[in-house]
Subunit: 209 residues, 2 copies
DNA sequence: TCGGCAACTGACCCGCGGGTCATTAACTAG
DNA sequence: CTAGTTAATGACCCGCGGGTCAGTTGCCGA
């Protein structure tokens, strides 16, 4: 909510302000329920002004994904390139980072939810997200696993063929928070601990298998 | 699509027919985009007739959840009560069942998607789903883990405190199929294999930890 | 056969909100 | 100071679809 005297001309700042307002509106209302009028009001602007900078509601959402989600994965990519310690520790770091940035952060979690909810409708957006984010994330995990196996830290196996499975439980956590947190809060810390332990150790006792 | 001469009176059959039509419509259009008129047409009935049996679009959706999802979990519950073999095998069975019924089945996956997308909006529905399905599923898994630990099959650990984490990767699979399958198909069989292996064995080599 | 109940119909009502555009006024160059 | 440019405004348009209800007709019991 930007407060200012009416009818200021600030061409350069508007897009960012409108985007921020849209993130908030989407987070509170979801995509389908979000009103352009409400985004405009939050940005301290008239409805028509929004259309000066974005042509459709969809375009606003795409801009948000580009602006808010990509950085999270860029950080993880950098971290993994520069890593010196064990691959197990790197994996713990990356997944912990992901929980902090994507599951516990209300704004980004809501972006994720919208992507899930409306992803099919915007083929282009799903394709963008796949291309720019998922492929890179998977590559990073695949590399991490490869190094881990080479170092004798990790065993080889079916999971190495589907690296994204390592973050599977995090998605469940995101869904739970989106959908059922009003009924029963998810203990994110405990869930994260269980997640890390599970993927690293599995459930079988050492004597089995 | 029921074909029949116009204006038949079949009070008893209508609800089931409308529900089936609605499942199809929701699966194709998603909840927000589904039109009552279209559901009516699919059911071979006028729009007004739909409102004779259901008062709102939401109510139709709730009826679908009750009618289509609960049975899947009921089967799993029965299976686990009567199980004689090892808990690891039971776990494999249950998860495989879940993939077949919920992830690979288009109708049910779409119901799941709708629940995720619109779950918050209908607090009552989320509460119902939590109460009638999730709590039971978690109880079942908790019991399975307990038995496994007692039998020495499973080790104890943080995962035992968050049993639902065992199905986490399945949710990722569902999301992927919903959102990105048009860009890149998920190999469900391979994913399932990786899932089972991961949760049972983890990624660490035996010498580590 | 015929009344009357209630299942069924679909034209209509109406609020909503995405998107438009004629008008207004902030800023600037000269 | 003024005229020209263009950012900003918000009343308006319009299609959509959820939900209604007065009228129609199938069916059954007498």
């Amino acid at each position: 909510m930007v407060k200012a005297k009416r009818r200021e001309r600030r061409k350069d700042d508007r897009p960012a302000e409108i985007l921020q307002a849209a993130v908030t509106e989407f987070a509170e209302q979801g995509f389908a329920n979000a009103k352009i009028q409400s985004i405009a009001t939050r940005a301290g602007v008239a409805k028509g002004t929004v259309y000066l900078y974005f042509t459709t509601k969809e375009e606003i959402f795409e801009a948000i994904v580009r602006d808010r989600i990509q950085p999270v994965f860029a950080v993880a990519a950098t971290m993994s390139q520069q890593w010196q310690g064990s691959q197990a520790d790197l994996l713990r770091r990356i997944i912990t980072h992901f929980y902090g940035q994507m599951i516990e952060n209300d704004e980004r979690r809501m972006i994720l939810k919208t992507l899930i909810s409306e992803g099919e409708r915007f083929g282009e957006l799903a394709a963008f997200y796949h291309r720019e984010i998922l492929v890179g994330a998977r590559k990073m995990l695949r590399e991490l696993i490869r190094k881990g196996i080479e170092a004798g830290e990790f065993r080889d196996g079916a999971y190495a063929k589907e690296p994204m499975i390592l973050v599977g439980p995090a998605i469940f956590a995101a869904i739970w928070k989106m959908t059922f947190d009003s009924v029963e809060k998810l203990n994110t810390k405990r869930w994260l601990a269980a997640h890390l332990e599970l993927i690293l150790q599995g459930v079988l006792s050492k004597s089995s298998s």
